[in-house]
Each structure stands twice: as C-alpha cells, then as structure tokens.
C-alpha cells in the first residue's frame, strides 16, 4: 500500500473514532439531562424525608425514604460482604498461583461467566434454594453480595496482575511468608484499585432491581432489623412508573434523580479516598 492510501485509511479511522465518541456523549448527555430535568422538577423535601403513606402509589402523600435507606443499607452491606470474599480470592490468585496456572485461569473464566449471568437468575435460584424463607434485608445483602463478588474480584484482579514480581520478591527476601506478603504488602499496593473495584460493585448492587425484588422484597417502612423486608430505589421506581397516575410516575423520575445523586456522591467520595490511598503506591 502506498503512503496516500495509508493516510486516507488513517483519516477514515480518525473520523470513525470521533463519531463514536460524539454518539456516546450525546446519548449519555440526553439521559443525564432528562433525568435531571424531569427529576429535579418533581423533587420535593417530602420525597426524601418521608416514607410512603398507604395511598402513596395512588397519588397520596409520602416519600421514598424507605427505599433510599434500604438501598444504601443493602448495597453497602452487600459490597462489604463481597469484599471479604473477593479480596482473599485476588490475593490468592496473585501470591499463591503462578501466572500460567491452569487453576487460576479456570477461576477467572468462572468469574467472567458469573459476572455475565443476569441477576434475575441469582434471584430465582436463591428463591428455590431458600424456599419458604421470607424475603428480607439479610437475604438481599447475601444474594447481592454473591452477585458482586465476581465484579469486585475481576476488577481488582486486573490491577493485581500489574503489580511487579519484584515487589513480592522484596517482601519475601525480608523473610515474609506468602500470607504476610499478601496482606501487608500486596493489599497495601492494591488499595487504590480496591476502592475503584468496590465502587464498581457498589454501583452494580445499588442499581440492581431484579434479584432484590425477589429476595429483599418490598416494604413501606424502613427495615427495623435484618430479617425484615427492605425497599430499594430501583424497585420503588419500577412500582411508581407502573401506576396509571401521572403524579406518581413523575415521582419515579424524581426517585431516579435521587439514585443518580447517590451514585455521584459515592463516586466523588471514592475519588477523594483514591488520592489518599495511592500516596504510597509503588507501581503508579
């Protein structure tokens, strides 16, 4: 191929790439603007400070405080639960298994599959297994926690694979065991990556409607214990938008706006932590 052809091809790819970025930005901006406009228009103090009254879904007074609190409790609990499993898995993969280990690739492959399974399947399976058990906040935390494990583990694993072997060798040559190296050196190096992975999992947890509808249930009050059913924002939005009343449907947009603000706050918070935790990182 001569030079003129190569330059033409390059220009073509450049245009394609730019078009892709522009389309993405337009779609994304439309969504944000729609939710913000429609949502903020109908956002009231009542919506975020009160639980729904008996007539709420028919247009009566009240708010979605139950769902806000429920969602935050559920997603936080689930993300913490998922971390306690995902972090040791990742440390094990990096410290105990070699780069070319068959077992390690098998675990990664399995987690990729788990990541891709629709959450309704998790919900349905747990309903079958826990047949007869009442829907509760605890069940929601456990199931969403399980859903989050592959998300957290794979995101963190990608970072862990980039840690240079020299860092681990430095720790070993001071007489550290593999366990000490994993928790005292590798985990410290991975902290910033962990924050990002935690956020990713939290986002998946707080945004999920399908599984929580089945296992956490729904309730008009804030759960008083782990064994009571809990409302969540996505499920609340679903119920509101399903009603035939325009007033309630408008509140659904406002609820969506609240959900978006919560995710934005968590993202900003994690950025803040990120710079704190990356202070000591070796492999920046």
């Amino acid at each position: 191929m001569n030079a003129r052809h190569r330059y033409k091809a390059d220009t073509l790819f450049h245009i394609l790439l730019n078009t892709g970025v522009v389309i993405f930005c337009i779609v994304f901006a439309t969504m944000i603007v729609t939710i913000t406009m429609k949502g903020s228009m109908h956002l009231t103090v009542e919506l975020v400070t009160q639980v729904p009254s008996d007539m709420y879904f028919n247009g009566g007074p009240g708010g979605v405080l139950n769902a806000i609190v429920g969602s935050i409790m559920l997603a936080t609990g689930a993300s913490i639960l998922a971390s306690t499993f995902a972090v040791p898995i990742v440390l094990y993969l990096r410290v105990y298994l070699g780069k070319r280990s068959f077992f390690a690739s098998a675990i990664r492959f399995l987690m990729d599959i788990l990541w891709g399974i629709p959450t309704i399947v998790y919900g349905a399976v747990s309903v079958i297994i826990l047949y007869g058990m009442k829907a509760s906040l605890l069940a929601g935390i456990v199931i969403v926690g399980i859903i989050e494990i592959p998300v957290l583990a794979r995101a963190l694993d990608e970072v862990a694979q980039l840690v240079p072997a020299e860092l681990l060798e430095a720790s070993y040559s001071l007489g550290a065991t593999r366990g000490q190296t994993a928790f005292k050196v590798l985990f410290r190096e991975l902290l910033p990556g962990f924050i990002s992975a935690f956020l990713l999992a939290f986002g998946r947890g707080i945004g999920d409607a399908a599984a929580v509808l089945l296992v956490a249930g729904f309730s008009d009050s804030i759960p008083g214990s782990l064994l009571e059913p809990a409302a969540t924002l996505p499920v609340s939005i679903f119920f509101q938008i399903q009603t035939p009343f325009p007033v309630v449907q408008e509140r659904a947009y406002a609820t969506g706006f609240v959900l978006m603000i919560i995710i934005l706050c968590v993202s900003l918070l994690s950025r803040l932590f990120y710079s704190r935790f990356s202070r000591y990182q070796v492999n920046k």
């Binding site: 070699g98 780069k99 070319r100 280990s101 240079p164 072997a165 020299e166 860092l167 681990l168 060798e169 430095a170 720790s171 070993y172 040559s173 001071l174 007489g175 550290a176 065991t177 000490q180 005292k184 050196v185 410290r188 190096e189 202070r279 000591y280 990182q281 070796v282 920046k284």
Partner: protein, 253 residues
C-alpha cells in the same frame, strides 16, 4: 589458606522447562568477603544468585536438583524453613523496589514481621540502619513520606537499609548498581566495601571494572558452568583458562 564457608552449592542444576540454566555446579562462598559472579549475559549468574534464597522456585516451570547448603543444611530439602532462610539472605535487586509505605515503615517492615514491637526500639533501629546505609542525613526530616518520592539512588540505599534491618548473614546483590547513576553507584560500592568485614557478600555484575574494584573472590561462569573461580587478584593477573583470558580482555562479553 581457605576461608570457612557457610554457603555452598553442591552439584546444583537448574532448568526452566527444557532450558538448562545451570548444570552440575559446585561452589563454596567464602565468609566475610565479597564474591563477585561474572560472565556474559544468559550464563546463569542471576539464576545462581536467586537459588541461594529460593526466590527461584516462585517462577513457573523451574526445576532445581542438587543441594544448596547453608550451615550444612540443604535449603532445598522439603522440610526447610524458607521464610527463615530468606531472612538470613538479604537481597538487593537490580531495580530498587521500595514497599508501598513510608521510608520509616520500609525499614521497620522486616523487624516488625519478626516480632519487634516496642516503638522506641524500632525508632532506634530505623535510625541505625538508615545511618548504616548513609541515608539518614538525607531523609531524617521526611521519614514519613512515601518511599517512592526518593531518587532511584536513594531508594537503592533504602533497600539496603531495609535488608540490613533484619540482620542477615549474607547479602546477595543482583547487579545492584545497574539502574543507578555513577555517583549513587559509587556510594553503594563504598557500602559493600565497608560491610564486607561483617557480612558475606555475593554480587552479580556484568561490569568488569566493578568486579575488579570490589571482588575478593571471583566466580567466572559461562553457559551455566563455572569456568574458573579463585581469589580476584589471581584471576585478573593470571587467569588459568583461555575463556577467562578472552573475557577479561573483552573478546567475549
């Protein structure tokens, strides 16, 4: 007169898959002196060095046969205490690799692992080891800054201080100055010369002049075997093998 040795390789062979890196090598490392391993790239220098603290077996597909004896005990026996062994073999890597923590914590890391708790003792130890590595004056006002903010030369001296803090018997250096500027290299070399009366030092280098400056004892390797080894003066002034002569005069490198 032969010096005593508590580090010894006996009929050691190492291979990476089908690739034989060291074949049937036997060697005694003399105590309290600097032994320098030289040889062309890929001759097995680093492999030999890493076999001394069992960092080798971390890699995939590595087979080690034969023995490495530390105080007469084979470190490749299945019952060997590997972390305990590595504590006795300080390692200075090619590129300095600080741990993801502060300067202070880097030095304190090893002793804390091995049970040192008292804040006062740790303070003293950090100060002593940083001074030992000639780094104290440069970092005394910023002990709690991340170690990664130091220059590469300072980082390598920090790694030396960190290694010395666990009181090793042997210091292994894998081309420890290859990533450093000339001034920093000189500082590290001076440290080695100062430390040799207390420690047994084994260095790998590809710089012949550095070997001449530092070595008490030379091990010349080629293709996974020792061609010649002996006191440095003898080796450089009167090499016995043709290969050694060619290497010293720069015909092979």
């Amino acid at each position: 007169m032969e010096k005593s040795a508590h580090l010894e390789a006996k009929n050691l062979s190492v291979s990476y898959g089908a690739n034989q890196a060291i074949s049937g090598l036997s060697l005694r490392i003399p105590d309290n002196s600097i032994t320098v391993i030289i040889g062309p790239s890929g001759c097995g220098k680093t492999t030999l060095l890493k076999s001394f603290n069992r960092l080798l077996d971390l890699g995939d597909n590595v087979q080690v046969t034969g023995e490495v004896l530390v105080d007469g005990e084979n470190i490749y026996s299945p019952t060997a205490d590997v972390p305990g062994l590595r504590k006795r073999m300080g390692l200075l890597a090619q590129r300095p690799c600080p741990l993801p923590m502060s300067i202070y914590d880097n030095v304190a890391f090893g002793p804390r692992l091995h049970g040192l708790r008292s804040k006062k003792d740790i303070d003293l130890l950090v100060r002593r080891e940083l001074a030992e590595a000639s780094l104290w004056d440069e970092v005394k006002d910023r002990l709690h800054e991340p170690a990664t903010r130091l220059s590469v030369g300072q980082q390598q001296r920090l790694c030396l201080a960190r290694g010395l803090a666990v009181r090793p018997e042997v210091i292994l250096g894998d081309e420890p100055t290859s990533a450093l500027d000339p001034v920093s290299s000189k500082k590290i070399e001076e440290k080695f010369l100062a430390l040799r009366s207390i420690y047994t030092i084994v260095l790998v280098t590809h710089i012949l002049r550095q070997a001449k400056r530092l070595a008490d004892y030379i091990v010349f390797m080629f293709n996974g075997r020792i061609v010649e080894h002996g006191p440095a003066k003898e080796f450089f002034e009167n090499p016995k093998e043709d290969l050694s002569r060619e290497y010293i005069s720069g015909v092979i490198s």
